[in-house]
């Protein structure tokens, strides 16, 4: 097919934020994740664990606990002392209520999802009623000194167990009184350190499970106040704990990065007496495992190393499929990099600033695998800091490189850049049109004359860019039937004729930009769209779904293309379908219309539509095999998927021109060195 000059970029200094807490939606359809920077993400289990929604963080809004309540509403609480409800359609904070107890360390929801209990710094446990349109303070429970670090409701909603420092307490919900207090370090001799109860769970049998800073997982009889079982799993703290819905399995996470599963097993086969047994240890993390969750089929853990690990329980998985794969997510399932092809610029999006880089260049050519000498080094042109505490939702650089735009929750900025010799001047565009914010995706047209802003309720604003530095709102596109969900992906045709927009309900609307009319809707497919793009020549819309399916939809003909039908008929290769990370970007080779370039975190692929599709018996990743074959033999082995796994983890890949590629990598070790050191374990000596 040819040789590419690959610009291998590793200077994107992204440090993903650690996972702070996890919450499984009752029924187990979604997982909410809060990160240490206050961002909240929602992963959809049914859509192959796709990171469906992201609500960027906020400097002052740390999240210590997340709860799903009735009606699939998501609440978070944190050290700011506020209880926050998230709007999952508009991807923003819906409302915030002050808990009035100082920083909130913990929050738990009752089994029916109608009441929230929060544990505060001042030692109080407060109950809130979940009402339509918000939450309402109900009452305080018996207050004692000492922050409440963890809370758990009894499944019957009659009692609440609360973990604090050195102690755990059980409250009667109806009377509000403390009915039991248990000193957790009573059994430890020579205690000088305090014992922090990091996590607690109240089982329906009346057993309270705690995990503490001494590395123990303990089972208590709350009525007697006695210790039933104690398992020391670690020499360092056990930070998190989650119980399966059936209460027969527990996962705990420790500060050494190990997670352990406990299972309630009969003492012997057929016996009625059961005991908790530590069964499976896992070491997927290198740092503290601050949060764990237990779905019906998987153990989920999130650590300060920013990894979200979904470890399926093989005994619960019926067949080998998407569910049976161990998944590790470190990077977001969306693009944080945009590229100005013509100007050869890269724009990197961080949580609170943007960086604009110019790529280097070379004058040499070489053979496969050679590193070419640089005649110009890459250049850091601009660093743009976002003002205020809000984190950036999205950003974009125009293809010509003279416009930069980004949006936060409440503000939208457009900058005009001028390049004079080696210096860059940047000017903010004043008097921006008032738009419905935030913007979820920004996209410039290929001639850099207009900007498309993906907005709430399925709408897309079209702004016209004016020289020397201005803009005006041209039109707002809305889906004909209306939508409550925000648009999260946009695709523009190179000729500026078509625009495809995907909203949170996974419907793809195609608009005609010549007359600003709704053109058609792509037939709905029951999975999340992870990337889409319009072919510059044929105006075919290529769509990648989270179940790894690929579709090609002809916009002018309003139907799937013949190639797409062939793909559906033959089916994609098994190995392709079993990949665990979604396609995050699609682009095309302007000189070769049959080539589609796609990439996910672990590979990029040039899909050559002119070649036959591989069947399951063929080797999907055959590049290295092909290289060893003589020219004549290669022809028989060629198939459509040309996959390269050389660059990992891959955050972005794009074609600059027909034989020039840019790849942005972020080696895991690079950002791990920026994390605090994990607990070291000495291997030798006593």
């Amino acid at each position: 097919m040819g040789e590419f000059e690959v610009h291998r970029v590793r200077f994107f200094g992204l440090v993903p934020a650690g996972v702070r807490c996890l919450a499984c939606q009752p029924g187990g359809a979604r997982l909410a994740v809060a990160r240490t920077n206050g961002a909240v993400e929602v992963y959809n289990f049914a859509a192959n664990y796709f990171q469906e929604k992201v609500i960027p963080g906020h400097e002052t809004r740390s999240v210590e606990a997340l709860c799903w309540t009735a009606g699939n509403r998501l609440f978070g609480a944190g050290l700011s002392g506020d209880i926050t409800e998230y709007d999952l359609a508009q991807l923003c904070v819906a409302r915030s209520v002050d808990g009035c107890g100082g920083p909130i360390w913990s929050m738990a929801v009752n089994s029916s999802g109608t009441q929230l209990a929060i544990g505060c710094e001042d030692g109080s446990v407060k109950l809130f009623q979940v009402v339509p349109g918000g939450i309402q303070f109900e009452r305080n429970l018996d207050r004692r000194k000492g922050r409440i670090l963890c809370l758990s409701w009894h499944p019957s909603d009659s009692h609440i167990a609360a973990g604090s420092i050195d102690i755990l307490r059980v409250f009667d919900v109806s009377s509000g009184q403390t009915v039991q207090r248990i000193m957790v370090n009573y059994h430890v001799q020579k205690v000088k350190r305090e014992c922090i109860v990091w996590s607690i769970a109240f089982l329906s049998s009346g057993t309270v499970v705690t995990s503490d800073s001494f590395g123990r997982v303990q089972f208590w009889d709350w009525e007697q106040g006695t210790l039933l079982e104690s398992h020391t799993v670690s020499t360092s703290a056990v930070l998190s704990l989650a119980v399966s819905e059936k209460e027969d399995s527990i996962i705990v996470g420790t500060s050494t990065g190990a997670t352990y599963q406990f299972q309630l097993l009969p003492v012997k086969i057929g016996s009625l007496e059961k005991r908790w047994v530590r069964t499976k240890p896992f070491q997927h993390h290198t740092h503290d495992v601050r949060a764990v969750a237990h779905s019906s089929t998987a153990l989920i853990s999130g650590g300060l190393d920013a990894q979200l690990v979904i470890r399926p329980l093989m005994e619960k998985v019926q067949k080998k499929g998407y569910d049976a794969v161990l998944r590790k997510f470190t990077f977001p399932h969306r693009r944080l990099v945009s590229c100005a092809r013509k100007a050869r610029l890269l724009l990197f999006q961080f949580s609170q600033h943007l960086e604009l880089w110019r790529l280097g260049s070379t004058e040499e050519t070489g053979k496969d695998g050679e590193v070419l000498p640089l005649c110009r080094m890459p250049e850091h042109l601009v660093q743009l800091k976002s003002k205020g505490p809000e984190h950036i939702y999205c950003s974009c650089v125009s293809p010509c490189g003279s416009w930069i735009t980004y949006s936060t929750a409440s503000r939208f900025h457009l900058y005009r850049l001028r390049y004079e010799g080696n210096s860059v001047s940047i000017k903010k565009v004043p008097k921006m049109p008032k738009l419905l914010l935030p913007a979820y995706q920004l996209q410039f047209s290929s001639d850099s004359s207009s900007l498309f802003v993906a907005s709430a309720q399925g709408s897309v604003h079209v702004l016209q860019l004016l020289e020397p530095g201005g803009c005006k709102l041209l039109h707002t596109l809305r889906p004909p039937s209306g939508s409550s969900e925000a648009v999260y992906l946009l695709a523009l045709s190179t000729d500026g004729h078509w625009l495809a927009a995907v909203s949170g309900d996974w419907v793809i609307h195609v608009y005609n930009l010549k007359c600003f009319k709704h053109h058609c809707t792509v037939p709905t497919y029951n999975c999340a769209v992870t990337a889409l793009a319009i072919h510059p020549v044929t105006n075919n819309l290529v769509i990648a779904y989270s179940d790894q399916q690929l579709f090609e939809f002809s916009i002018p003909e309003k139907q799937y293309t013949a190639w797409s039908r062939t793909v559906q008929k033959c089916g994609l290769h098994k190995v392709w379908l079993e990949r665990d990370s979604p396609i995050t970007h699609i682009t095309f080779n302007p000189k070769n219309p049959s080539h589609i370039l796609l990439h996910d975190t672990y590979m990029f692929c040039v899909l050559d539509k002119s070649l036959p599709l591989p069947d399951n018996s063929a080797l999907l990743m055959n590049q290295s095999t092909l290289k060893q074959l003589p020219e004549t033999a290669r022809q028989r082995q060629l198939h459509a998927f040309k996959i390269c796994k050389k660059f990992q983890p891959l955050l972005f890949a794009d074609l600059l021109d027909e034989n020039c590629l840019v790849v942005v990598e972020r080696p895991v070790m690079d950002f791990k060195t920026q994390l605090p050191l994990p607990i070291q374990k000495k291997k030798f000596g006593t």
């Binding site: 097919m1 040819g2 040789e3 590419f4 000059e5 690959v6 610009h7 291998r8 970029v9 590793r10 200077f11 086969i269 057929g270 280097g360 260049s361 070379t362 050519t365 070489g366 053979k367 496969d368 695998g369 050679e370 590193v371 070419l372 640089l374 080094m377 890459p378 040039v606 590049q623 092909l626 290289k627 290669r634 060629l638 040309k642 390269c644 050389k646 590629l661 080696p667 070790m669 690079d670 000495k682 291997k683 030798f684 000596g685 006593t686």
Partner: protein
């Protein structure tokens, strides 16, 4: 683990093969020599077999019309054979006799049930009426009158034991569904009758018994497919009326849904029994099986199907099972090893620490009147009641039935009883003790025993105390006098067991034990009965025994300094191990010291005591610790082999303690100098090794980092070919 080994046929039992004549076997008895058995069939013949050769050595028959009614036994002392035919006619002959008509004959006045032959006690004859005579007594006057003891009860089973020098015969009888057990001591001619606790639906169908620690343990296989255990105390002093023996379930003969209908049971060792019976799974045809069960873990260890059917009888001599299988007499050998949980689950490791669990219901122990604070055996429900009700119960103790005496009451009653009566009563009481707070009660019993020993210096029930400590989960605080007393008596075995079993020994006592162990001469310990489990794997016993006499002066260590406090001359034993390291103490002493090393202590409380240890003993102890430390370091896992051996951390902690306590003295002592310098060298070598290892680890990590850095340039332009 127990296992069945190879099997072979001893002889055919069909009419053609000569033995049995189709009538089946009456019994199998051990022959005059090892590897010999005596077969008696249900007819006229008795045959002597050499088992390993599968060969008959002799065969004797009575005349036509006569019938052998009692299994032929061998008098082990005279090598004569004894048989009874037609219930009353006794015959005695020697191996060379051929015709039984011509041998000694005596007609008795009553019908004989069975003759038991004891290896050192001579044959004992049990009559159908329950009368018992030794053969000697009987032969003096064959026609003497035999009393009828059991009136219309029928003897179901009998067995004889030697208890000390005295034969003891026990037999079980049945009458109208009630079962009785009789124990007859021949020397004292005392007969005791017990009634077996009756339970519905579970009639005993087969019995077996063994004697241990003056208690007969009777196992009965019952019709509800369970094996029950009944403890019968031998020492009965009170001629009381009939006592009821309670039984406890030992084992349920069921495995994953299938039930074993047992016909015979034999005891193999303390944890294993063998049961012959038919295994019935629901919906399947039953299969006859020979099975070995572990009673400790309640598991079926092994089984063998016997498709041709059996007669239901099972005998076991010299690690061999004998039973009829189809038309032949089959012999199967078996192996039985001590069972541990690790072995049962297939993970026998060298160093495992037995869990010492001692849970005491403290509520039952009042602050005062310890002796009377125990609740009666029957009041199980008391456990859940409060302390207040307990006190009221205490006041009403007089109303309790005399049979259900509380231990406190019992001890008060026995205050003035004779020592044997006292001990017997306690044994008997303990054999049926099923109280919920057993530990507290046993603690009381031990205290009472110790008090009695104090008042009567000649009395020392060593085995009884040992038995209690071994079998019951006692703790130091329950019987604080016991260890002090054992220290006074210098009973090292008892101290060792206490150190192993008690979780809460005060540091002072631990120190006292250590001092005693170090001071006792090896010569004294040679004869002492010490549990050597903890040392057997790393001290070579064979070698020791040869080397015991050698006197070696090593490392400037003079034997004269080792004069022990009892004035007997100390012979220093050296124990060469494989690589030439010498164990400074004998295996017995090492085992005792190990038990100290493994016991719990608090440094701050132990240290002041340890300072009092005489310097020579401290040096010896340190030498032994050093030896252990070197032994530990030989292995990659830094652990000593064997069970109950101390861990490396325990060894190092003790080493530090001894050095802390005696450092100034050690520095001054010339004989400690070499030891200290050796120790220093060894430790320094180890520290160096570990620091080198840590350095290597660091270097490897750095290499890994460099390797990573090599391709971590932040920007490059590369050529990539895609085909």
């Amino acid at each position: 683990m127990a296992a069945l080994c190879e099997s072979f046929t001893l002889c055919g039992l069909g009419p053609s093969s000569g033995v049995g004549l189709g009538g089946g076997l009456l019994a199998l008895e051990p022959g005059p020599d090892p590897d010999h058995v005596l077969l008696t069939d249900r007819g006229r013949t008795a045959t002597l077999f050499k088992v390993s050769d599968q060969k008959p050595l002799g065969c004797w028959s009575v005349k036509h019309g006569q019938m052998i009614t009692c299994p032929v036994v061998c008098n082990f002392e005279t090598h004569e054979y004894i048989a009874v035919h037609d219930d009353k006619v006794l015959r005695i002959w020697k191996e060379k006799d051929i015709n039984l008509d011509k041998v000694f004959k005596a007609t008795l006045s009553a019908e004989v049930y069975r003759i038991h032959s004891l290896p050192s006690g001579g044959p004992v004859v049990l009559f159908r009426g329950g009368g018992v005579r030794t053969l000697d007594v009987l032969l003096e006057a064959p026609q003497q009158e035999i009393e009828n003891v059991i009136s219309d009860e029928v003897i179901k089973w009998s067995e004889a034991f030697m208890e000390g020098q005295q034969p003891v015969l026990t037999f079980a009888t049945e009458k109208d569904g009630d079962f009785f057990v009789y124990v007859q001591k021949l020397k004292t001619n005392s007969l005791h009758r017990f009634k077996l606790e009756q339970q519905e639906f579970s009639k005993p169908s087969s019995f077996t018994a063994y004697l241990k620690n003056q208690i007969i343990t009777l196992l009965c296989l019952c019709s509800n497919d369970c094996v029950y255990k009944v403890l019968i105390p031998l020492q009965q002093n009170t001629e009381e009326e009939e006592q009821i023996l309670s039984r406890s379930r030992l084992l349920t003969l069921s495995v994953s849904g299938s039930v074993l209908k047992g016909t015979s049971v034999v005891v193999l060792d303390k944890d294993h029994i063998a049961v012959l019976g038919s295994l019935t799974a629901s919906g399947e045809e039953s299969k006859e099986c020979l099975t070995i069960w572990n009673t400790k873990f309640q598991t079926l260890q092994t089984s063998k199907e016997l498709p041709l059917g059996t007669s239901g009888q099972l005998w076991c001599y010299e690690e061999k099972f004998f039973f009829t299988h189809g038309k032949v007499l089959t012999v199967i050998m078996y192996k039985c090893e001590t069972s541990s949980l690790a072995a049962a689950v297939g993970k026998l490791k060298d160093s495992q620490t037995p869990d010492v669990s001692a849970f005491v219901n403290w509520n039952t122990l009042g602050d005062e009147e310890l002796v009377v604070s125990f609740q009666s055996q029957q009041s199980v429900d008391l456990k859940s009641e409060s302390k207040m009700t307990l006190r009221s119960k205490r006041n009403s103790v007089d109303e309790v039935q005399p049979n259900d005496l509380s231990v406190g009451q019992l001890l008060l009653n026995l205050k003035d009883a004779s020592t044997t009566a006292f001990e017997g009563e306690l044994r008997q009481w303990m054999s049926k003790a099923q109280t919920p707070d057993l530990q507290a009660t046993i603690g009381c019993v031990v205290t009472a025993l110790v008090n009695r020993c104090r008042t009567n210096p000649k009395y020392y029930p060593r085995s009884f105390l040992l038995q209690i400590v071994q079998t019951r989960d006692l703790s130091y605080s329950l019987c604080p006098d016991l260890m002090v007393f054992a220290l006074e008596r210098k009973d090292v075995r008892l101290l060792q067991t206490c150190l192993q079993r008690f979780p809460d020994i005060p540091d002072e006592i631990t120190y006292a034990c250590l001092k005693l162990f170090l001071s006792i001469s090896e010569a004294y310990l040679q004869g002492a009965d010490v549990n050597l489990d903890s040392v057997i794997c790393y001290i070579d016993m064979e070698f020791n025994n040869k080397e015991v006499k050698t006197e070696v002066v090593e490392n400037g260590f003079s034997t004269e300094l080792e004069q022990d406090i009892w004035g007997t001359e100390y012979t220093k034993e050296t124990h060469l191990t494989n690589d030439g390291e010498l164990c400074p103490v004998g295996p017995q002493k090492a085992a005792l010291l190990n038990s100290v090393l493994r016991s719990a202590y608090t440094e701050t409380f132990l240290l002041p005591h340890l300072k009092n240890l005489p310097a020579q003993q401290a040096v010896l102890f340190l030498r032994y610790l050093f030896y252990l430390y070197v032994k530990c370091s030989e292995k990659i896992n830094t652990a000593l082999p064997g069970t109950n051996s101390p861990s490396i951390n325990q060894i190092i902690d003790w080493m530090c303690l001894v050095l802390d306590a005696h450092f100034t003295v050690m520095v001054m002592l010339p004989e400690a100098k070499a030891l200290l310098s050796n120790l220093h060298k060894f430790v320094r070598a180890q520290v160096r090794l570990y620091s080198e290892l840590n350095k290597i680890e660091g270097s490897l990590r750095e290499l890994q980092r460099l390797n990573h850095q090599k391709d971590s340039q932040t920007y490059s332009i590369e050529v990539l070919e895609i085909i």
